[in-house]
Symmetry: C3
Subunit: 170 residues, 3 copies
């Protein structure tokens, strides 16, 4: 009887810890990418994790690492940028999870900071021996396009990436 | 003795789960409202839940649903918008809770994204058989008005909506 | 055997509660400072807690209280401002913790809201008899300067403030 109660507690506690671990990883993305911390950014993803942004498709952890090290990204962060992500709504389902958040990208221009874009981010995570890892992140502009809305809708419900969204492989 | 320890653990674990559930619901609001997900937005509120914004008073879940479906809101999200809410500070007190967060509303204008307003959001939640539901959300501009400051102060302390704030019923 | 399992649960539950308490305190900062709630803002820090911002060094809780009451800050919040902080990534290590988040400062100018700055915030907390208190917060602009990047990198990894960062004592 007591052991049953303890088993139930352990299951609930694990779910809480899962949710907090994913929350922490998503919250660390902005500070890590804005400081050019390529190793730490890449480690949020699985080896074969996908980061599918409007204009860029990265299909492995190594490609994500290379994006952070690229001249484009380095130029952006040395000018001054905040990949400012909002709080993630995290839905854990056993060994997989979905998180969703919005963002604005703020870029310094002379003495001002300009919101260059607003976006939606749909994250899929999987439990691994090294903790939760992102298996696919799909990011789209919130400029009225249907895919952005579909990702926000799915993520807010805790659902996986909709089938309707074509991956734009370069 | 062991049973007492387990009872204490269960009470603390429940409080943690309560806080995370409310955090999740508040964090899901932006993605849901920006994708026009009227059913899911409305479900954050109780049937008779209130959403009291500067210029608009909604006194039921059905009115909140209608707001999301309105031409005004649909026009906004098809042009491109982010109701970008910050992380909620959540204070649980037994079967009720208060959450507070700030926000900016970012709207697309041609190729740019413009911060159209900054606001404060004071949420009151109640525990129900269907989980935590919002009983009243009060939102005001952060333009220096006293009600906005009073809501931010109360929310940051975990206090209920101040009596001084008149509901602007249309 | 049962008691061992319960001890392990209590330790894990405590860690979760620690993380949530720090999350809550960081999330309450914006609403409290934007409403001029000097007592509540100051109470986030330890008596000898430090708040080290680009242009201002505060070395005690009393100095932080005085900043909130200053004409400069009061003028800012009466014009209308949002010290809009993103979600904190919190790393607890026993009796100390590190949190990191980005922010934008949005200030009202006539009928518009202008992002005046984007910054990074590296928080150090310690467990005390009165709960978790901030022992040092270091904030820098995200304008490409190396200290801002070093703080974001350390915070995203859960590391303490880098030694390389000189405190700019007035």
């Amino acid at each position: 009887m007591t052991d049953n109660r303890i088993d139930e507690i352990l299951a609930r506690l694990q779910r809480v810890e899962d949710e907090l671990e994913i929350t922490r990883k998503v919250a660390s993305y902005g500070p890590l990418v804005d400081s050019g911390s390529a190793d730490e950014v890449a480690a949020i993803w699985a080896e074969d994790g996908i980061y599918d942004v409007d204009e860029l498709y990265m299909g492995t952890r190594a490609e994500i690492h290379a994006m952070v090290r690229s001249d484009d990204h380095q130029g952006l962060i040395h000018r001054g940028s905040a990949h400012f992500l909002g709080p993630a709504a995290v839905t854990v389902n056993g060994d997989t999870a979905v998180a969703v958040c919005e963002s604005i990208l703020v870029v310094r221009h002379k003495e001002r900071f300009i919101p260059a874009r607003a976006g939606i981010h749909h994250w899929e995570f999987a439990r691994t021996a090294e903790g939760w890892q992102c298996t696919r992140r799909t990011s789209r502009l919130l400029d009225g396009n249907a895919d952005g809305h579909a990702l926000a809708h799915a993520g807010g419900r805790g659902d996986q990436r909709p089938e309707s969204i074509a991956a734009v492989v370069n």
